[in-house]
């Protein structure tokens, strides 16, 4: 039994926010990553800067399951505030590592778990004189203890410290000393390693570890975005910060210090999206990032961009709503809000990346899409993807790739045409030609407006002209179906009368659940959505299965609604698998909800 725990366990760290635990915990995760073992960390943090409990949960999975898993095999408990609940959270037979500088009160004692007491405070008080160091190195001492207990390779940790303190090598020895304190203490007082432990594998090959938000920011740099406007909001802030960092590196003139990029921190989200629309209107690729409350504020402008047909890229890093909700927890609950943002008959193109690699790619694609379709494209990710590190394949870029700027007329093009009509459907695909201000002295100017207009952009209240325009927008919408990222279909041919449908961060847990179902002899087809409007593949998948389990992380089954509205899908065949407690969805949860709904006949054997 003990053998099954090699490279297969969950450790949770219970820390106090703002005490320097984040970098120690990351050191732990990254060392396991460098041993070639699939590992996935999740920050469970408060909306607070200092003082409140914060957790960091690390799942190690030889099988490569990167979703969250219930059941904590080891708790590293260094926060007295949350200790009582932390004790309760440990799986029976699991481990509880705590600071034994003070005796553990009886209320924390359980018969069915193992206690590993390390006098973290005492050790640090003896070894260091500076108060800040005493505090910080407590974290490093427990990492040392974990190195011994879980059999982590010391040289990987050493290597990480060398990387981390490049240029500040003076700081390395004191860190090594703290690690050693932890290791020695375990060596002297406990049996090691434990049954839960790691063993070097070479499973990750050239994978990288990255947060989705940073990947989005980098994607925008590669896509040639030259302008970003934003208003800070968790969990989206690090999208534009990531963009700014990479842009500073790659877009600054070494001699003059001038930049091939402009970034404005706006006064609110209304202004942020307004600026982005203004810049795109004027021919510069630009974008903003926000979360639910910001998306709500952007509604009026999104409607303008839809109706006036101005390319716009927006990254929505979803968090737990409604209202301010749980600002530091994850959810996929802005789907309907984003799809139909703004009054009137308005709908928007959505894309759904599920890994950092896809964040990079789909953000880059979104700039092409937005300009080709001349409409807003909303990149839907969530806090889990945006703010947690994920093991992901390396990012790739093809140098031959050109930016697709869509139907933009140059001065020479304008010379050739008799009369320019901004909203004339010349190609019969619903997508019309635009001009950028300043292009031609006497041809190509037009008035952009949110009011109804005719094919030549002149204001009109003529019903027929209004309706023609609305119908053309739907034609464009239909054109978009085969331009948005295609879904990922797991089986080329249907193997089952039942299917699973999911998107975004549910991918990890959904794939794990599918594996387990398969082991139990329950075959299921599966599809992962990557774009909206839905194309024919999605429609066929829904049509050709008797039951479709729609996995999503919100209360109201928003994706199910969208399928019903846009595909006229039968609500009775769409069975919701929901998770909306603010934590990333787990395979267990999916399995429970699916099996409850399955009749015995769907088992093949």
């Amino acid at each position: 039994m003990s053998n099954t725990k090699v490279n297969d366990f969950v450790v949770r760290f219970a820390n106090v926010n703002g005490t320097g635990s984040a970098s120690a915990n990351f050191l732990f995760t990254k060392a396991i990553f460098r041993m070639g073992i699939p590992v996935t960390p999740k920050n469970i943090f408060p909306s607070n800067i200092q003082g409140l409990p914060t957790w960091y949960e690390v799942r190690v999975s030889e099988k490569g399951y990167l979703g969250r898993r219930e059941g904590i095999d080891m708790m590293v408990a260094v926060n007295p505030q949350s200790m009582l609940n932390d004790v309760k959270a440990v799986k029976s037979g699991g481990y509880f590592l705590y600071d034994s500088s003070k005796k553990l009160h009886d209320q924390y004692i359980r018969e069915d778990i193992h206690y590993i007491g390390i006098p973290l405070m005492t050790l640090c008080n003896e070894a260091y004189t500076d108060a800040r160091q005493r505090q910080l190195f407590k974290n490093i001492v427990y990492v040392g203890a974990l190195i011994a207990l879980l059999d982590i390779e010391f040289k990987e940790v050493e290597g990480l410290l060398a990387d981390q303190f490049q240029g500040k090598e003076k700081l390395i020895p004191s860190n090594i000393k703290a690690l050693q304190l932890g290791i020695d203490y375990i060596h002297k007082n406990f049996k090691y390693p434990l049954d839960i432990r790691v063993e070097r594998r070479n499973l990750l090959k050239d994978a990288i570890m990255m947060e989705g938000n940073a990947a989005c920011g980098l994607g925008a740099v590669y896509a040639g975005a030259t302008f970003a406007a934003w208003y800070p909001i968790t969990p989206s802030t690090s999208v534009v910060e990531g963009f700014a960092e990479y842009a500073a590196e790659f877009r600054t003139d070494k001699i003059t210090g001038k930049k091939n990029v402009a970034i404005v921190q706006a006064e609110d989200e209304l202004a942020a999206i307004g600026m982005v629309i203004g810049a795109n209107w004027n021919g510069a690729r630009s974008f903003t990032a926000t979360s639910g409350p910001g998306l709500s504020l952007m509604n009026e402008f999104l409607g303008l961009a839809y109706f006036a047909e101005i390319p716009t890229v927006l990254v929505d890093v979803q968090r737990t709503g409604p209202s301010t909700g749980m600002p530091t927890r994850t959810q996929q609950s802005d789907i309907l809000e984003a799809a139909y943002a703004s009054h009137g008959d308005t709908k928007h193109v959505l894309v759904f990346p599920s890994t950092p690699k896809e964040c990079f790619e789909l953000v880059a694609d979104s700039f092409d899409l937005a300009e080709q379709l001349q409409t807003p494209v909303i990149v839907m990710i969530d806090l889990d993807l945006g703010m947690n590190d994920h093991v992901t394949p390396p990012l790739v870029w093809d140098d031959k790739r050109e930016y697709k700027r869509g139907k933009v007329l140059s001065a020479a093009d304008l010379e050739k045409i008799e009369k320019f009509g901004r909203y004339l459907d010349v190609d019969n695909d619903g997508i019309t030609y635009r001009t950028i201000p300043g292009t031609h002295a006497s041809k190509g100017s037009f008035f952009t407006r949110g009011t109804s207009r005719d094919e030549y952009a002149a204001y009109t209240e003529d019903s027929a002209a209004y309706q023609r325009n609305m119908d053309r927008l739907i034609k464009k919408w239909n054109t978009a179906k085969d331009m948005v990222p295609a879904p990922q279909v797991y089986n080329q041919k249907n193997n089952s009368e039942n299917g699973i449908l999911f998107f975004g961060t549910s991918q990890y847990a959904a794939e794990e659940a599918m594996d387990i179902l398969k082991q139990e002899g329950i075959a299921m087809d599966a599809i992962r959505l990557r774009g909206f409007p839905f194309n024919k593949t999605v429609e066929d998948f829904v049509k050709s299965h008797k039951k479709v389990f729609v996995i999503e992380q919100n209360r109201d089954a928003q994706m199910k609604s969208l399928l019903m509205i846009e595909l006229q899908a039968d609500p009775n065949k769409l069975i919701s698998v929901l998770n909306y407690d603010g934590m990333p969805i787990t395979a267990d949860n999916i399995l429970k909800q699916i099996t409850k709904n399955l009749s015995p006949s769907s088992k093949l054997n």
Partner: protein, 350 residues
């Protein structure tokens, strides 16, 4: 309805340096009420652009929503225009300007559009010193929604139904000066002689140039007791100075009395010559300009003319160090770090 202006040209109309006659700067036929102050401002804009030899396609005109915000359709039909949403023109202008620093940005707004729904964006566009001209066509009411009081309606002013406004008004000019706007002027739609040079100077100003123009709404706020009516404004207007604007250092002959004259040299060498009428007022001094506006206001007068200018103004592009080349003209080779750089980034993430 869509209106197309009948075009007939006077063969003998004078041409500017670019060879354009003034009608080249016109727009579609106005649909505003006959006598609306906003139309007079449009014609001052047309005149100013003509005199400044502006290539219409190198100017972008932007607005919010309101009768005033409709006017960009009525001037410069060869310019791109953007009629955005209510109160949010400053943000659209900011993005547009960031995309291409080489165009002239001309924003038109109303007092509702600026002083109420758009106050936040107005304040922040000033803070950023965006290089644009921003005109508020100020009629003390919401014309387009049929005459409700706006936040610039003076306390005690009566509207058409006889109701008295109980609230303190927001004075946009002194507010702009206080917020650090680098060019602030005030004028009256009926005073084209003053308005045209102000518009010309504003377009040359390298930063945020604000002109608050009192512009009576003949339909809803031109009644007895209104402080934004033609009659009231004509009676209470007091100019800071008569003014002349000379682009880019030409020889000028001045006929003013030397003692009261002030010249302001702009960044490119253009000259603003002010023949001072107001006492104890220095257009280069923020404090003094604020005092002059507020003093006039306390006497029930409207001080017009150039109120304040900072000739050392540095616009947003200077502040954030954007490249000299317009961002919208940059191509892939200047923007994309490429596959090799990405390999290094990947390596750093292992």
């Amino acid at each position: 309805m869509s209106y197309v202006k009948p075009k007939f040209r006077h063969p003998e109309l004078p041409k500017n340096k670019l060879g354009y006659t003034v009608d080249y700067y016109e727009g579609a036929l106005s649909t505003l009420c006959a006598g609306c102050g906003h139309d007079s401002i449009s014609s001052a804009i047309i005149q100013g652009c003509y005199e400044m030899n502006i290539e219409p396609h190198r100017l972008a005109k932007l607005s919010g929503i309101g009768c005033s915000s409709k006017t960009p359709a009525y001037f410069l039909s060869n310019s791109h225009g953007f009629n955005s949403v209510h109160g949010r023109m400053p943000s659209v202008a900011t993005g547009a300007n960031m995309a291409n620093r080489d165009l002239i940005y001309f924003g038109v707004s109303g007092d509702g559009d600026t002083a109420s729904i758009g106050m936040g964006q107005f304040v922040h566009v000033i803070r950023r010193n965006l290089n644009m001209t921003y005109i508020v066509m100020n009629n003390g009411c919401y014309g387009l929604t049929k005459g409700q009081d706006s936040a610039t309606a003076d306390e005690g002013s009566k509207n058409k139904t006889g109701q008295v406004n109980l609230f303190e008004s927001i004075d946009l000019a002194s507010l702009a000066i206080e917020l650090g706007a680098t060019f602030v002027a005030q004028s009256f739609s009926g005073d084209k002689t003053q308005l045209v040079p102000l518009i010309k100077a504003a377009m040359k100003h390298p930063g945020f140039a604000f002109i608050n123009v009192i512009s009576p709404c003949v339909t809803f706020n031109n009644n007895l007791g209104s402080t934004k009516s033609y009659d009231y404004v004509r009676e209470h207007v007091e100019a800071t100075a008569t003014m002349d604007f000379v682009p880019q250092m030409q020889e000028i002959s001045v006929s003013y009395d030397k003692g009261s004259q002030k010249q302001v040299k702009m960044h490119d060498g253009s000259l603003i010559t002010l023949n001072k009428l107001a006492e104890e007022w220095d257009p280069l001094n923020r404090q003094s300009a604020m005092n002059a506006v507020l003093n006039a206001k306390s006497k029930g007068e409207i001080l017009t003319g150039l109120l304040y200018v900072n000739p050392d103004s540095k616009d947003l592009h200077h502040l954030i160090q954007t490249s000299d080349k317009p961002l919208n003209s940059l191509v892939k080779s200047e923007l994309c770090p490429g596959a090799d750089a990405l390999k290094e980034i990947n390596a750093g993430l292992r």
